[in-house]
């Protein structure tokens, strides 16, 4: 059995800090959003917790983007357009059918590429699409006084609130899907172990 060192320490640290901040932001965000009915955190507490976690999330995100830029970890986020449709279909069919039949997974993790195409597109959308939208809308809340009163005939704060809300829901969806999809490795906990130790153990298929 061969082992690959796919997750360097800085990536693992970022991942788990990010995970902690996500949970903190979801709990405090829901406490603010459903104030009076969620009963998780007190409104006054949730305010500074959410603000602080949001600022830390931005810092962590910036460090991750810089890390991807200066190390070769960024290569996992470069889309190979050649044959992409075929790979998406293949991976989707595997998740929909093959996984139940015990088929050999169509994608094999390697030092050159650790994500299958569906994972890769999801992570790119989350890290380079949804997270910036979430963070920008969050920061605009904090400095709302510098905004114009209206955007497109609607109150700008409300527009920002709705963007923040929709993106937050999408990221909660991502979090649940992510937690589930990591159980689809060779064993239920193999991906989780890899993100803790850095090492991915390869399974030999017949």
């Amino acid at each position: 059995m061969k082992s690959l060192y796919l997750f360097p320490l800085w990536v693992r640290l970022w991942h788990w800090i990010n995970a902690l901040l996500f949970i903190t932001l979801i709990v405090s965000g829901a406490s603010l959003h459903f104030a009076g009915s969620s009963g998780w955190l007190k409104f006054d507490t949730a305010m500074w917790v959410h603000n602080t976690a949001g600022i830390l999330l931005t810092l962590a995100w910036l460090l991750f983007v810089i890390g991807n830029w200066v190390t070769d970890n960024g290569k996992h986020y470069r889309i190979q357009f050649n044959g992409i449709i075929g790979r998406i279909i293949q991976q989707s069919v595997y998740y929909a059918v093959g996984i139940f039949r015990g088929d050999t997974p169509p994608f094999k993790m390697s030092m050159a590429m650790k994500f299958n195409t569906l994972q890769q597109l999801t992570y790119i959308s989350v890290i380079y699409g949804l997270m910036p939208l979430l963070m920008i809308s969050g920061w605009l809340f904090l400095f709302a006084s510098d905004l114009p009163a209206q955007i497109l005939g609607m109150g700008s704060i409300w527009v920002i609130a709705m963007v923040h809300l929709v993106v937050a829901y999408l990221l909660v969806l991502f979090l649940f899907s992510h937690i589930y999809i990591i159980t689809t490795g060779d064993t239920i906990f193999s991906h989780l172990r890899a993100m803790l130790t850095g090492w991915h153990k390869e399974t030999e298929y017949d």
């Binding site: 603010l32 400095f143 709302a144 609130a161 829901y169």
Partner: protein, 294 residues
């Protein structure tokens, strides 16, 4: 000779003193301090024979010196003949008006006095009691101080609501429907609900004022923006950028709520979780089945 010199100096000094004193008296009569000798008395007032109401003539010197009009002398605005005492009856006819000074003033253009005037004319006060209401009914120009960003928000609210409760002395009777009314009165000004969002001087009749929670606590954009931006700006001025980001007080309960997004967000989330659970269960059962066959 020596005595002559002493007398001469004395006479000259006396002359100078009397000239200076004479000028002072002439100037002093037009100076604020001269007026305040009487008008700073807290109880200076008279009862108007026509209306039967007490007319307060007292000016608090400390508040006056801190007001926006602190650099104006009394006579800059009060130009009737106040030279004699008691003042002549004619001074009662003197009418003052904010726009007399503030119209087309380039320094004050952002206060939009002309718009304020128009909004006031449409207010319930001006429409129902036009004879009794003027700017000065609510704004005492001897102590008026415009709220600045960075002032304590609670003080601004207390002062603003104090103007209303000066006449409307039992607001709780009509606000029993309002959840936690005391918290509302500490947190927002009466005019947030009792004026249209953009025209804070167009005080509305009670029936036209908003009683919809969602006007503030949800999507009604203009009102939300007005409240939220004010708080956000105040926080920024008070605490600086870092503290502002961490200890931002600009949240309004329910501000981000949207029934449709919440409903669909939670439905999709529930279906996703159920789908993931079903997928996992399917994998488990399929693997059990496979292992039985092997």
């Amino acid at each position: 000779m020596k005595n002559f010199n002493v007398i001469t100096v004395f006479v000259i000094l006396l002359g100078i003193t009397s000239v200076v004193t004479g000028n002072d008296v002439i100037n002093a009569k037009t100076e604020t301090s001269y007026c305040l000798r009487c008008h700073s008395m807290e109880t200076l007032a008279y009862r108007d024979k026509n209306t039967g109401l007490m007319v307060n003539l007292s000016v608090n010197p400390d508040q006056y010196r801190q007001s926006n009009h602190q650099n104006l002398a009394c006579v800059d605005c009060h130009q009737a003949d106040y030279s004699g005492y008691p003042h002549s009856e004619s001074v009662k006819l003197e009418t003052l008006h904010c726009l007399d000074c503030h119209q087309n003033d380039p320094k004050l253009v952002h206060y939009r006095f002309e718009d304020v005037e128009q909004a006031f004319k449409k207010s319930v006060h001006a429409e129902q009691l036009p004879e009794q209401f003027s700017c000065f009914s609510c704004h005492d120009s001897h102590q008026f101080k415009v709220s600045q960003v960075g002032d304590n928000l609670a003080d601004i609210i207390r002062h603003g609501n104090g103007i209303c409760t000066n006449c409307h002395q039992s607001p709780q009777i009509n606000h029993q429907w309002l959840p936690n009314p005391k918290l509302h009165w500490r947190s927002v000004r009466c005019i947030e609900c009792h004026t249209p969002a953009k025209f804070s001087h167009q005080v509305l009749p009670a029936a036209e004022s908003t009683d919809l929670c969602v006007d503030c606590h949800s999507k009604e954009a203009t009102l939300l923006t007005r409240l939220y931006q004010y708080r956000s700006e105040e926080d920024l001025q008070k605490t600086g950028w870092v503290n502002k980001a961490v200890f931002n007080q600009a949240y309004i309960i329910g501000m981000s709520r949207n029934e449709t997004i919440d409903r669909w967000g939670l439905i999709i989330l529930a279906f996703t979780i159920a789908g993931l659970f079903a997928h996992g269960l399917g994998r488990f059962l399929a693997s059990q089945l496979r292992s039985r066959h092997e």
